[in-house]
Symmetry: C2
Subunit: 242 residues, 2 copies
């Protein structure tokens, strides 16, 4: 199975998506937050590109919550930011959240045309890999897996790349991958025993630490603590249990 | 000193270039070939973006040679391809070559506005680093170094990233770098004792091997065999000896 890794949401290169499945990774913090929200009973996350789109959507459906960030901070007037700790059961249980984040939402849109889109983070990598194996067993015509790292502001970033490397590691030896996939896997093998320290030293990690989000950095670096398998369905991110 | 590494010629992110110096890397094969041509007495290389631009330039100046590739092969009607072995002293000695390559030329253009542009490859990394140190000593106002990996068709590629990693390694401990620079340095440390084998397994390496260019792959993977320091001056790549 071919696994093609893309370095950032703004990548000028996106491989053909026909008959492929996709995984979206935005460790700091969009996909970590989405996974957490669903674990806490959130009914669905509706990813949109712009603040305006988010606000208009809520005008149309007043019951929805507004979440998201610009430059890592909550957007003025929004109910929730981009911290997983904002998405408590009390706040998001049984509700839908319209969410706009700088990189994560764009990464989801970039691969939305693939046959199936999963939302991954360190929190749920293993569950995603198991879901992919089950899907591939039932869908023998799938030609490849596209892994898109959201990156930071159109740039390669180490946190998403390491998470892609962990995904490749768990997918096992029967895959072939592109140069970025090979690099991601090698980097993961260097970092895996010291993931949190490595992530703290990245550009995005340092930014979050400087803004007081150390708890977020620690949490988003925790591997396989949530058995959540979010997928994109009808433009909403949901988790179908069972 | 800040060193910002860019993953590919088509990167949507280019850092500000004011008061910075730049290094362009296209291991397979544009910058390796340019370095070799200059070592073999080529007077200057004129990088242009398109085949049409190259042909028009030769109409204007009939003494110039035409070199370059599309999809790794020599362009029809051109005097030289993109193999360093095309650029022998007999062919390029005392002459100027107009050169267009898929990624290398675009990478040069992307950073042309910086204060000084160097052309690097494994063949001449150490000489480039010494030249950078000399330049920084004389130009204390320089604010940073931008390293652009040409990449392959707008994609991250391991050969250029490893060469950037070697450059960072030789620049020493007093630099700070972005996530891609840190990743490049880590990957270089894994690969450095087995560079040729690693490069043969990359996407671009395998493409060149499949086209019969094994000699090129071996040659372009040879570190620090040419003491050539090409710079961009008046839109031409030249080597000022002494």
């Amino acid at each position: 199975m071919l696994v093609e890794v893309i370095p950032s949401a703004g990548s000028p290169w996106i491989p053909p998506l026909a008959d492929k499945i996709a995984v979206v990774i935005d460790v700091f913090r969009a996909t970590s937050t989405m996974v957490t929200a669903l674990a806490n009973g959130c009914q669905a996350i509706i990813p949109v590109l712009t603040t305006e789109e988010a606000i208009q959507r809520r005008v149309d459906e007043p019951g929805l919550l507004l979440g998201g960030e610009r430059k890592a901070l909550r957007i003025e007037g929004f109910d929730l930011g981009n911290s997983p700790f904002d998405y408590t059961p009390e706040k998001v249980g049984g509700k839908k959240v319209i969410m706009t984040t700088t990189n994560g939402t764009r990464a989801i849109r970039a691969v939305a045309e693939s046959r199936q889109v999963w939302i991954a983070s360190f929190l749920n990598v293993e569950s995603i890999v198991h879901a992919i194996f089950r899907y591939l067993e039932k869908n023998q015509d799938i030609k490849g897996i596209v892994v898109i790292c959201a990156g930071s502001e159109d740039r390669f970033d180490i946190p998403d790349t390491l998470c892609a490397g962990m995904l490749l590691d768990k997918l096992g030896k029967r895959i072939i991958t592109n140069d970025l996939g090979r690099a991601a896997h090698m980097l993961y093998n260097i970092a895996k025993d010291n993931l949190l320290e490595m992530l703290k030293q990245t550009e995005h990690g340092r930014l979050l630490l400087s803004l007081g989000f150390e708890k977020d950095v620690v949490y988003c670096s925790s591997a396989n603590i949530l058995p959540i398998v979010p997928i994109l369905e009808n433009s909403e991110i949901i988790w179908k249990t069972g």
